[in-house]
C-alpha cells in the first residue's frame, strides 16, 4: 500500500479494469510483492492467525444469527435448539464460543510480541494505537456476545459490567439506565447487545484494515528491531510470508480443534447452562478467562470509582506505551534488563488472571493490590527509567546479518518458554473454574465413563436403563424441557427405534388446545412433543415439593460443577476431562447420609455430603430394588445413579458422539495438512537462506 504499485497486468481486460479501479494492483502490492523482513519468527504469524480467527468468528456468527432469537423468553432455548436441532449447529456454536477464546489467546500473544520486540516504537505509534482500539472493540464484542445465550452468568455478568458505569459521579445511574433501556437488565438490553454484537465485528474489520494499512506504510518490525537497509534484508510476502503464516494457522487450528471437538465447555462457566434468573445471583460471578486480569485490578481497589478507573486505565495505558518507553533499542533481545522485566510483567499478568478467578478475600486481596501496583509500575516506572539507564547490547547491522548470525548458533531456549506459557495459560483458564474454591465440601469421586476420552461413546444399555430410572423416579418431579420424544430415536442416543419412541410418546397424555370449540383437551403424545413436566405449572410444582422448584433436568450434566483444584484442571486439558457433571450427579444421588453431630439441618432439608452447603431440599430419591432392570444389571442405588447420570449426560449433549467422531476425522486431516505445509514451507524458504 506504500507508493505506486509495480503490478503490470498483461491481459488487456485487466489493464482496462486496473486503469479504472487499481484493486488487483492494491492486492498485489499488499499481499504478494510486499517486502517482509527475512528474519521474522513464528511470533509474527499471530497477525495472520488473528485475521483467520476474525474471519471464522464473522462467518460462524452470521450463521448463528440465522437461528438465534434475541428475546429474553426465547434466547436461552434458541441457543439450545441450535445445538440440538440445527444441522451441525453444535459445531457452529462451539466454533464460535471457543473461537472467542482462541481470538483472545492469539491477540495476547500478538500484543506481548509487540511489547517484547518494541513494535510500538517510532515510526509505528499509530499502528500500535490502532491495535489498542481493536483490543477495546474486541473486549466490548466479546462481552456482549457472552450475554446473548442468556444464561445465569450472562445475565449477571451483564448486570455487573453495566453497573461499572454507575461509578461515574452524578450521571452514573442515568447512564446505566440508558445502557439497560429499562430498570434492570432485560429484553431491551438483550436486543441492543445482539445488534451491537453483530455490528462491532465489522467495525473491528474496518479498524483492522487501517491497522494493516499503517503496517504496510511503515513496514513490519522484526526480531532484530533494525530497519531494513538493502534488498537482501527482505523477501516478498508471497510465497514466503504466506506459506509461513499458513503453516502457523494450521498448527493453531489443531489447538483450536482440540477445544471444539474434545473439551468444548472447558473454558465456559457451567452456570451459563442455567437459564437467566433475575431473582438468584450465582455464588461467584466470574468473567470469561480473558478478562480476569482486569477483573482482578477492578476488585483490588477498595473504592467503586477507583476500581473502575484502574481497570480502564490498565488498558488505556497501553496506548501511551510509545512515549513511556523512549529507549533507542527496539528489540528486548538486545536489552538485558528490559527482557527480564518483560517476563516479570508476563508473570504479573498471569497471576492477576489467576487472582481474578479467586474469591476476593484474605490474602488474595493483598496479592491483588501488590500485583496491580506491579502492573502499572511496569508501564509508568520501569519502562521510563529503563530507557534512561539501561545499556543495550550491540544490535546487528542489518536484518541479513541477523539471519546469518542465527544460522551460526543453536536456537534459543524456546521450548521451555513455550511450555511455561502453556502452563501459565492453563493457570489463568483454570482460574475461572477454580472460583468456587470457597464453597468447600468433599470432591465427588471420578468414575470411569464409557463416553470419556477422544473415542468415547455412550453405553446404549446404560442409556436405556438410565431412561427407565428417569421415567420411574425423576420424572415424577422433574421436567426435561429441551428433550423431545423423537430424540430417543436419534443417532447417538439410547438407540430406540422410531416405533419404540412413538410408543413411548403415545403412552403419555399431552395437554393441547384450544380446539374449535375453545376447549383444552388431552391427546396422546407425538414424536415432536417434549418430555412433559409432571406439574401443570411452576406454582403447582413448588406446592408439591415443599416450596422447592425441581429444576429441569435437560442440562443438568452441563450445569453442575465442582472444584477440581490446581493442578488437576491443567491435566484435565490434556486428558480431555469433561465428566464433572455426571460425576457430580452420581455422587449427589449416593451422598445422602446422616448429618454430623454439630450440623444444624434446616427444617425440611436432608443432609447430602456432596451438595454445596450439605442441606438439600430433595429427599433421597432412589433406593435399592426400586426400578426393575431386565438385563441382569444389579438393582442397586450405585447402578441406578450411574445409569441415570449417563442418561442425563446424553440429554445435556445429544451430539456428543457425533462431535467426537467428526473431531477424529478433523484431527487426522489437520495433522496431515500440517506436515504437508511444513515441508512446503521448508522448500519455499530453502531459496531464501
Amino acid at each position: 500500500m506504500s507508493g505506486p504499485s509495480t503490478y503490470q497486468p498483461s491481459h488487456p481486460a485487466l489493464q482496462w479494469f486496473e486503469k479504472r479501479l487499481p484493486l488487483i494492483g492494491l492486492i498485489h502490492s499488499s499481499f504478494i510483492a510486499y517486502p517482509t523482513p527475512r528474519n521474522l519468527n513464528y511470533w509474527w504469524t499471530f497477525g495472520g492467525i488473528l485475521s483467520f480467527m476474525l474471519g471464522v468468528q464473522i462467518v460462524t456468527g452470521v450463521i448463528l444469527a440465522m437461528h438465534y432469537t434475541p428475546h429474553v423468553d426465547h434466547a436461552f432455548n434458541s441457543v439450545e435448539a441450535i445445538v440440538r436441532d440445527v444441522n451441525y449447529g453444535w459445531l457452529l456454536r462451539y466454533l464460535h464460543s471457543n473461537g472467542a477464546s482462541m481470538f483472545f489467546i492469539a491477540v495476547y500473544i500478538h500484543m506481548l510480541r509487540g511489547l517484547y520486540y518494541g513494535s510500538y516504537k517510532a515510526p509505528r505509534e499509530v499502528l500500535w494505537i490502532l491495535g489498542v482500539i481493536i483490543y477495546l472493540l474486541m473486549m466490548a464484542t466479546g462481552f456482549m456476545g457472552y450475554v446473548l445465550p442468556w444464561g445465569q452468568m450472562s445475565f449477571w455478568g451483564a448486570t455487573v459490567i453495566t453497573n461499572l458505569f454507575s461509578a461515574i459521579p452524578y450521571v452514573g445511574e442515568s447512564i446505566v439506565t440508558l445502557l439497560w433501556g429499562g430498570y434492570a437488565v432485560g429484553n431491551p438490553t438483550l436486543n441492543r447487545f445482539f445488534s451491537l454484537h453483530y455490528l462491532l465485528p465489522f467495525v473491528i474489520a474496518g479498524v483492522v484494515v487501517l491497522h494493516v494499512w499503517a503496517l504496510h506504510v511503515v513496514g513490519q518490525n522484526n526480531p532484530a528491531g533494525v530497519e531494513p537497509k538493502t534488498e537482501k534484508d527482505m523477501v516478498p510476502f508471497t510465497p514466503y510470508a504466506t506459506i509461513k503464516d499458513g503453516f502457523g494457522i494450521v498448527c493453531f487450528m489443531i489447538f483450536y480443534a482440540w477445544f471444539v471437538f474434545y473439551i468444548p465447555n472447558y473454558l465456559g462457566d457451567p452456570d451459563n447452562y442455567i437459564q437467566a434468573n433475575p431473582g438468584v445471583t450465582p455464588a461467584h460471578i466470574v468473567p470469561e478467562w480473558y478478562y480476569l486480569p482486569f477483573y482482578a485490578i477492578l476488585r483490588s481497589i477498595p473504592s467503586k470509582l477507583g476500581g473502575v478507573i484502574a481497570m480502564f486505565s490498565a488498558i488505556i495505558v497501553l496506548a501511551f506505551l510509545p512515549w513511556l518507553d523512549s529507549a533507542k533499542t527496539r528489540s528486548s533481545k538486545y536489552r538485558p534488563l528490559a527482557k527480564q522485566f518483560f517476563w516479570i510483567f508476563v508473570a504479573v499478568c498471569v497471576l492477576l488472571g489467576w487472582l481474578g478467578g479467586k474469591p476476593a478475600e484474605g490474602v488474595y486481596i493483598i496479592a491483588g493490590r501488590v500485583l496491580t501496583f506491579c502492573y502499572f509500575a511496569y508501564f509508568l516506572i520501569v519502562l521510563p527509567i529503563l530507557s534512561r539507564i539501561e545499556t543495550p547490547r550491540a544490535v546487528p547491522n542489518s536484518i541479513a546479518d541477523d539471519v546469518l548470525a542465527k544460522y551460526g548458533k543453536k536456537a534459543g531456549p524456546m521450548a521451555p518458554v513455550i511450555l511455561a506459557l502453556v502452563l501459565a495459560g492453563g493457570l489463568v483458564m483454570g482460574g475461572a473454574q477454580n472460583a468456587r474454591a470457597a464453597e468447600g465440601g468433599p470432591t465427588p469421586p471420578s468414575l470411569s465413563w464409557s463416553f470419556a476420552g477422544p473415542f468415547g461413546t455412550f453405553d446404549r444399555g446404560a442409556l436405556q436403563r438410565g431412561y427407565k430410572v428417569y421415567k420411574e423416579v425423576c420424572a415424577t418431579c422433574h421436567s426435561m424441557n429441551l428433550v423431545h420424544f423423537r430424540n430417543l430415536a436419534d443417532p447417538g442416543g439410547p438407540g430406540f427405534s422410531a416405533a419404540q419412541a412413538l410408543a413411548v410418546a403415545s403412552d403419555i397424555k399431552v395437554q393441547d388446545g384450544p380446539n374449535d370449540a375453545g376447549d383444552m383437551f388431552e391427546r396422546p403424545g407425538r414424536l415432536a412433543d417434549k418430555f412433559p413436566a409432571p406439574f401443570p405449572n411452576e406454582n403447582a410444582a413448588r406446592a408439591a415439593n415443599g416450596g422447592a422448584y425441581p429444576p429441569d433436568l435437560s442440562l443438568m450434566a452441563k450445569a453442575r460443577n465442582y472444584d477440581r483444584g490446581f493442578p488437576q484442571f491443567i491435566f484435565d486439558f490434556f486428558w480431555q476431562f469433561q465428566e464433572k457433571g455426571p460425576n457430580y450427579i452420581d455422587a449427589l444421588l449416593q451422598g445422602y447420609t446422616d448429618p454430623p453431630k454439630d450440623f444444624q439441618l434446616p427444617q425440611g432439608a436432608y443432609y447430602n455430603k456432596y451438595f454445596p452447603g450439605h442441606a438439600i431440599k430433595m429427599p433421597k430419591p432412589i433406593s435399592d430394588d426400586q426400578v426393575t432392570y431386565d438385563d441382569g444389571t444389579p438393582q442397586k442405588v450405585e447402578n441406578y445413579a450411574k445409569d441415570v447420570a449417563t442418561f442425563l449426560m446424553w440429554t445435556a449433549e445429544p451430539h456428543l458422539e457425533a462431535r467426537k467422531k467428526l473431531g477424529l476425522q478433523v484431527m487426522i486431516f489437520l495433522i496431515i495438512f500440517a506436515f504437508l505445509m511444513y515441508f512446503t514451507k521448508k522448500k519455499v524458504w530453502a531459496n531464501a537462506h
Binding site: 440440538r84 415432536a528 495438512f673 515441508f679 512446503t680
Partner: protein, 175 residues
C-alpha cells in the same frame, strides 16, 4: 543446475500440488456444515409430520383451508354439479391434461384435496371464484376449474395434490 533441478522440480511440484489439493479438500469440507445448516432443522422436520383432518363439519359445496408443512391445503366438498362439470370437459383441451378421476380418491369423488398454491408464482388462489367456479388467482389471473385444473391464465400446471389417504370415510391423513 538444470539437470539436477529437473529431478527436484518434479518432487517439489508434487509436494506443492499435494498441499494445494489437501487445502482445497479441507476448504470444501469446511464449507459443508456452513451450507448444510440452512436445511430444515430437526424440529422443523418433526413439525412436518402428517396431520389428520376430520371431514364431518364440511357441508356440501363448502371448502376449508388447513395448513401442512407451511402450505395451505384446500379441502372441497364438491356438489354433484361441480363433479359433473369437471368430468364433462374433454381432457385433451386442457393445458395440463389430467382426468378428474386421477385427481381424487376412488369412492370419494366429492372430496377434492389440493395444495392451494398457484403454479404460476406461488400466490394463493381464492376458492369458488372465476369462470369455472373453481379457483381464481387474483395476482395474475390464473383460473382453475372445480378439479383444480388450470383452464386460463399464465399458470402452467394444475394445482398439485398433496400426499393423503382416507383413514375412515370422514377422516383423512395428509402427509
Amino acid at each position: 543446475m538444470t539437470t539436477t533441478s529437473s529431478a527436484q522440480h518434479t518432487r517439489r511440484d508434487f509436494l506443492y500440488v499435494a498441499t494445494g489439493a489437501v487445502a482445497a479438500v479441507g476448504a470444501a469440507a469446511a464449507a459443508w456444515p456452513l451450507i448444510s445448516q440452512m436445511n430444515p432443522d430437526a424440529s422443523t422436520i418433526a413439525a412436518g409430520a402428517p396431520i389428520e383432518v376430520d371431514l364431518t363439519p364440511i357441508a356440501e359445496g363448502q371448502d376449508i383451508k388447513v395448513f401442512w408443512r407451511g402450505k395451505p391445503i384446500y379441502i372441497s366438498h364438491r356438489t354433484k354439479k361441480q363433479i359433473d362439470d369437471a368430468r364433462a370437459v374433454p381432457v385433451s383441451s386442457l393445458p395440463d391434461p389430467q382426468t378428474d378421476q386421477a385427481r381424487v380418491k376412488e369412492g370419494h369423488d366429492q372430496w377434492l384435496v389440493v395444495i392451494g398454491i398457484c403454479t404460476h408464482l406461488g400466490c394463493i388462489p381464492i376458492a369458488h371464484e372465476g369462470a369455472y367456479d373453481g379457483f381464481f388467482c387474483p395476482c395474475h389471473g390464473s383460473v382453475y376449474d372445480t378439479s383444480g385444473r388450470i383452464r386460463q391464465g399464465p399458470a402452467p400446471a394444475n394445482l398439485p395434490i398433496p400426499p393423503y389417504a382416507f383413514v375412515s370415510d370422514s377422516k383423512i391423513k395428509i402427509g
